[in-house]
């Protein structure tokens, strides 16, 4: 029972909330506009670092620091989109994955007196936690986590409503049309390039919100929080829930984290104790992490082959064109 409750708790944790925001952002880019952005981790990173540097090094008030983080993510979208959005989809994939990786290295190695290397920046959430209305642990969550979760899932609701409203309007219809047939949209006189750029920037903005949630949740930002694994997990969550659906990334995030915790809990129980069910020569407790991620990889591969539309999606919408 413990395993089940902790799985449920993991499904709604701070981690699930920020991954969910990252997935909603990716959904705008990948699900609706068909842009393969393999650098979502980079958007979270610039958001989180923009906010952290703004609060700690520049001493900006909370809202101004948030604004700086958002600005940085839009700037990243422009820098990435400018050279690649006119090209075939795989160029964007390569450029985004490269940019995210370089950003991680950059935050970890350059301007050490500002970014503090791999230790990262910390100590900026006092103002945020001062507004915390929770003062007792609830359902096993700490009060500080409860506050971050409230804000995080609140943002998920607001952003989901926003995405729903723009996608049912003419702007969203053009975006979906671009995904289906770029040439046809261009022949109707639409500026495909501009629409793609807007989708990339909006998705990046939503990703930056996820960056704020992780920064506030951990009260620190470290470059290794934003490795390629993050993008990979976000991608898996989105495919699991169903791309191009409002609830896809939300359900995907909850199910993914609950499932990951469940697998971890079961493996933990099987490898624990003096005489574990799984013998120690085969697997030990500290190998659970890698096994879980192998299973995540298998899940993504099987989903993409047999059910690319995920739980909710429409198969026709996930028939990706090269």
């Amino acid at each position: 029972m413990d395993i089940l409750t902790s799985a449920l708790r993991a499904g709604f944790s701070v981690d699930a909330a920020y991954f969910c925001l990252a997935a909603i952002g990716l959904n705008v880019q990948f699900g609706y506009a068909g842009l393969i952005n393999f650098g979502q981790a980079g958007f979270l990173a610039v958001g989180a670092y923009g906010f952290a540097v703004g609060s700690v090094s520049l001493g900006l008030p909370f809202s101004a620091a948030i604004g700086l983080g958002l600005l940085c993510s839009v700037a990243l979208g422009l820098v990435l989109g400018l050279p690649t959005l006119r090209l075939r989809a795989d160029y964007l994939a390569i450029a985004t994955i490269a940019a995210a990786e370089v950003l991680r290295l950059f935050f970890g190695a350059a301007f050490q007196d500002v970014f503090h290397g791999r230790d990262g920046i910390s100590g900026f959430s006092a103002a945020f936690q001062a507004a915390n209305p929770f003062d007792h642990p609830f359902l096993g969550y700490r009060p500080s986590d409860l506050w971050v979760m409230t804000v995080g899932w609140g943002l998920v609701v607001i952003v989901s409503v926003f995405v729903w409203s723009i996608m049912r309007g003419p702007w969203g219809r053009v975006l979906k049309a671009i995904r289906e047939d770029e040439e046809a949209v261009r022949s109707l006189g639409k500026n495909v390039y501009a629409f793609k750029m807007q989708a990339l920037a909006i998705g990046g903005l939503i990703g930056a919100l996820g960056g704020f949630v992780v920064a506030l949740g951990q009260n620190s930002v470290q470059p290794d929080n934003f490795s390629f694994d993050l993008t990979f997990i976000v991608c898996t969550m989105l495919v699991l829930g169903g791309a191009a659906r409002i609830m896809g990334p939300v359900i995907g995030a909850v199910v993914f984290w609950a499932f990951l915790s469940l697998v971890g809990g079961v493996l933990d129980a099987l490898t624990a104790g003096q005489d574990p069910t799984i013998p120690a020569w085969l697997m030990t407790g500290d190998q659970i992490g890698t096994i879980r991620f192998v299973l995540v990889g298998v899940a993504l591969v099987l989903l993409m082959i047999y059910r690319p539309q995920g739980i909710f999606g429409n198969r026709k919408e996930m028939a990706l064109h090269a």
Partner: protein
Amino acid sequence: MRLRPALSLALLVAVLVGAAPTAVATASIAGRTTLATRGDDPETVKVTGKLVNRDDTGSTPVGGGRVTVTDASGAEHVATSRPDGGFSVEVPFEAGPISIKLDEGSLPRGVTLREGSRNPITRTISGTLPLTVTFVLGKGDRRTMSWADQVPQSLFNGLYFGLIISLGALGLSLIFGTTRLTNFAHGEMVTFGALVTYGLNVAGIDIWPAGLLAALLAAVFGFAQDRFFWRPIRRRGTGVLAMMIISIGVQFILRNVYQFFTGGRTETYRQYTTPEGHQLGPITYSVRDVVCVAIALVLVLGVTIALKRTRLGRATRAVADNAALAATTGIDVNRVITTVWAVGALLAATCGMLLGFSQAVKFDLGALQLLVMFAAITVGGLGSVWGAVLGSLLVGTLIEMSTLVIPSELKMAAALFLLVGVLLFRPQGLLGRAQRIG
């Protein structure tokens, strides 16, 4: 930005030319069960280990090295190695990760951690099995040279690195050319070569036959991967972009499987880790480097000539040009693609085997080079064979030369800037055909 040209060069010389002896520091953490029988406090864990210099000629203990163990509660425990290299420290047993940090400043003069090795190393105590952590050291070459004197050596290092990377890039480019798949799992075939070579080498096989065997095994792996995985997926009519996402899943699976078996350890081959350096003008090189260059050159030239001259090579180019048209002329497209996968995997594994001499042999060795290979084939022109080679040499040189002006941790950024520049001004790449790619 902190500029450290002198240190960057030192690392470079130690890593790429390998002119200095390598030391391996091994620390084992014994769980509390062992300690309980020894009558010690059962609530503590003893971290024991030894700092030794292990190279071709033998091993020398390293005394005076300071190791800091941080337990799960955040308290720090310091141990200093005795003249025989051994050290030990007791920390309270507490579930959770502990980190073991080797204080680089305490190492004997001129000895530094090798580039790419992790410090501190974090482990979770399970309480039942002893854990081993390894720090890979290399004797730092702290010669201070003038900026201009470093240029020839950097150029040599860059061309050397680029030539080896071109083996991986060539396979990636061939697979892209014939299937239009951007294979994100290609780096894992590079890792495969290094890990299998390491395993065979540790088992007692000489490094060169071990590398050959690893390359052949990789060819079988590549063949099987296409025959039993990618070919059925192609037959289902799965789109290229969906296949790209699948390849990311494959990358994740393989990388974690490697980590499962190697436990995230950083290893070095048992032979030729510290070859004798020779001087040629301003450049230091070793016989091992010459052999590596020869192997890489033979493979690159062999593959490019085979593509031009042999029946299979011409069939490969026909499939790359237009698969449907090739099929109508009687070429078995699937057979060509499977062969390309086998050859691509063989090249990638050789790339990994050669990289293993100069870099830490680890589960993510190839994953770290994926970005370099992508940059190389994009700069050279996606799908172009000579473009992949030219792009690799350019990117390799740029990466190594950039360490003269920026910190070596950031040298990958140089590859990205070249990538973005090429996409802006010549998106088809240097040798790519100008065609619609948007």
